[in-house]
């Protein structure tokens, strides 16, 4: 007996609720931009400079005790947060862990090494058996450059992909794919603004992977659209897109699920250090799958595509006409 997540033949009309899905996407994008503008991202030290000290103690220590110590030391702006790792017992990760973050003094190019050293010494004196798991400091000079590099990386990736798809398909496909991709990136930034998870270099890496993944999905659908365009020369674009989406639906679901299974295992068991990273990826896979169906394809439909893919000639894969359903709709609403 096979596990079948998607029935053998599906004939869903993905454009039936087009206005709703497209509306939801547009709203989500706007909401994300507003969230980003109003709430903003919780930038990690990679992008804002500063220092982070990660500690572990044999017994639980209240964050207030850490705060009191930091106040005594007069280190300026500092925050303390507890790390709760639900899988700690399973993976043997640190149990009583805390993150201490010290803000960078304005515009200081070098790192605040003396401050960090002072805090580390004071911590070890105050709390018995305290272990410093890690310390990280980034000066303003480097953090400024990392912001630039991050933005450049995402922009470059989008541009490179736009070019590649334009090369392999047609410009309409490229626009559709990139719209889906920008949608995914903006929504990821939106969700990070919303939940206040730390936004650091690793998240940029996750976003770039989302860019790759989202495209992977879109390209598979588009590849089928291209093939069907050659095959069914008379079918309306809407029917043709629907047919292509239905034909690839089983694959879309399978791949998204296997990737999600792997990522969820990583999220739960992979430890605190990469939790933000895997969260971004999981979000990206979900949004990326959604967007290749509900963003990329509708845009392709709106833009219309060239129907004459004559380079393959009419000889191969003769146009047998529509398989089922046919062209009930005479025109394409573009």
């Amino acid at each position: 007996m096979r596990l079948k997540l998607v029935p053998e033949t599906t004939n869903l009309n993905f454009f039936k609720f087009q206005t709703i899905t497209f509306g939801v996407s547009t709203l989500a994008v706007i909401a994300s931009i507003v969230l980003f503008a109003v709430v903003g991202l919780n930038y990690g030290i990679d992008f804002r400079g500063g220092s982070v000290i990660m500690t572990e103690t044999p017994m639980p220590v209240a964050t207030q005790e850490y705060r009191d110590l930091l106040n005594e030391l007069e280190v300026g702006d500092a925050t303390v947060s507890e790390i709760t790792d639900p899988a700690a017992e399973l993976t043997g990760a640190a149990q009583n862990s805390a993150l201490i973050r010290i803000e960078q003094q304005d515009g200081e190019a070098a790192i605040q090494n003396e401050t960090v050293q002072m805090v580390v010494n004071a911590l070890q004196e105050r709390f018995d058996g305290l272990t410093i798991l890690s310390t990280e400091s980034v000066g303003a000079k480097v953090s400024g450059e990392l912001v630039q590099a991050g933005i450049l990386a995402v922009a470059l990736a989008v541009a490179a992909v736009l070019f590649y798809i334009w090369l392999r398909f047609e410009w309409q496909f490229a626009l559709g794919a990139v719209a889906a991709l920008v949608h995914d990136v903006i929504l990821t930034i939106g969700v990070f603004s919303l939940v206040g998870l730390q936004f650091n270099l690793a998240i940029i890496a996750a976003i770039l992977t989302i860019v790759g993944y989202s495209l992977n999905d879109t390209v598979v659908v588009f590849d089928r659209v291209r093939e069907n365009l050659r095959r069914y020369k008379q079918m309306t674009l809407k029917d043709l897109l629907n047919l292509s989406l239905n034909e690839t639906l089983s694959r879309t679901v399978m791949t998204s699920l296997t990737t999600l299974i792997a990522l969820i295992a990583l999220y739960v068991l992979g430890g605190e250090v990469i939790r933000g990273f895997t969260f971004a990826m999981i979000w990206g896979v979900v949004v990326g799958t959604y967007s290749s169906v509900f963003v990329a394809s509708p845009i392709l439909l709106r833009l219309d595509v060239k129907r004459d893919w004559s380079k393959d000639g009419d000889g191969e894969g003769p146009a047998k006409g529509p398989r089922k359903g046919g062209s009930k709709f005479a025109h394409i609403d573009a």
Partner: protein, 543 residues
Amino acid sequence: MLGYPLWKKIGVVLVCLAAILFSAPNLFYAQVEASNDAIAAGQEGDWPSYLPSDLVNLGLDLRGGAHLLAEVQVADVYQDRMDGIWPEALRVLREQRDVVGTVRQVETETGELLLRIGDISGQSAAIAALRELAQPLTTVTGIGSTDIEVTSEGTDLIRIRLSEAEKSATDDRTVAQSVEIVRRRIDESGTREPTIQRQGSDRILIQVPGVGSAQEVLDLIGTTAKLGFHHVVSATTDENARAGAGNLLLPSVDEVGTYYIVERRAIVSGDQLVDAQSTFDQNNNAAVSFRFNAQGARIFGDHTADNIGNLFAIVLDNEVVSAPRIQSYIPGGSGIITGRFSTEETTNLSILLRAGALPAELVVLEQRTIGPELGADSIEAGRLATMVAFAAVLVFMALSYGLFGVFANVALILNVAMIFSILSILGATLTLPGIAGIVLTVGMAVDANVLIFERIREELKAGRGAARSIQLGYDKAFTAIIDANITTFIAAVILFAIGSGPVRGFAVTLGVGIITSVFAALLITRLLIVTWFDLRRPKTIEV
């Protein structure tokens, strides 16, 4: 029936065997590492020498260690150059005393020399004479220009500074020299496999595995350890005293509140040292003994002979460690530096002096230290997560596609073996995000197989024969697989080009994973399916 030429079969099988062979050492990581260390130390390793012994490098986030990015303050060196030019300039202008008149140094920005001449009418003659001192540059970018620029200012001033071309050539040398000295200092401390790399025009990336705090590394590399023996002009307790042009006001380490005004130009400097050792003085206080080379010994000897009764200052990093009076002529060029040192400090200081002084100060821009406990936790978590993810995907594939799913699973296992063997051979660094990259690859690697299997299902549904369906499934899925993977590969390449550290590690595993998973899906599963088909000759197949 299904085309799969014999040479291709043999090739694929060979690649798979090689992948298993070259990834195997990673399963016995500790043993192979110990064996490799032993061999590096000239002993016999206990890992069989006929087996490959390349391992994946564990990144600092997994092994623990310190990562530092430091910027060399290249402009520091300009002043030293000017201090070197000053006596030369004085000599040249003295030869023309009757035209130029007296010459004095005027205080100006650091890195430049400003001279006032006594006779205004001699300004152009003085400039011409000073320009004789300029050396033509031989670097590629500096062809046609000279190392120093001499310009007039007002009626009686002359400014000497380094030319832009010479500055950039000097910067380059300064950074190269700094990298070399940092390397020597860290090597002398006996740390295992440190990475010291130049980054960009004026930065040094330092990665030292295994150290518990960045401070340990900073103590070793953060100090310039610039040692110099300077002539003392006077001593004072006024910290705002004017030192005068060509002199420096330096604090004393031992006597709090005492300041010395010393000549900026050292009599002898640390680069003339041939040896430095941690030792004890006659009162059993920790001290550092040193020895100059022949030239240094001669200069120092001559100076002591001429200055009996005067003070000289031993200056370390702009602080006067001690200022003894010259009692007699000191030949031989060796001595000891005493001060309030601990033995640890003298050991460190002697390492620093032996390795040489940094030509310029290092400013640390970024520091990341991962403790060994956290590294071990991360490896454990990564391993567990990978295994669970792997098992879940294997079960899911087998349930969904039956026998074909099992074929895909075999390919998936070989895929991971291929990733590890390639990473080992490349000597790539595996970071925690890198592990995430592998897990993601495990999830995405099945994509190509899913595409193919779904295609075969479609062809079967359309009523085609088993063999034909398999053939068409592979053919038709091909473009989708290639296009989809190239786009992800583009993202990986950009990540690699722009990212650093752990992010780069992620890009490498992702990129390698994409290549191997395409290979696994297009060639390995196909080989398995074709072989099975040829053996069984089933009339119908179920995918």
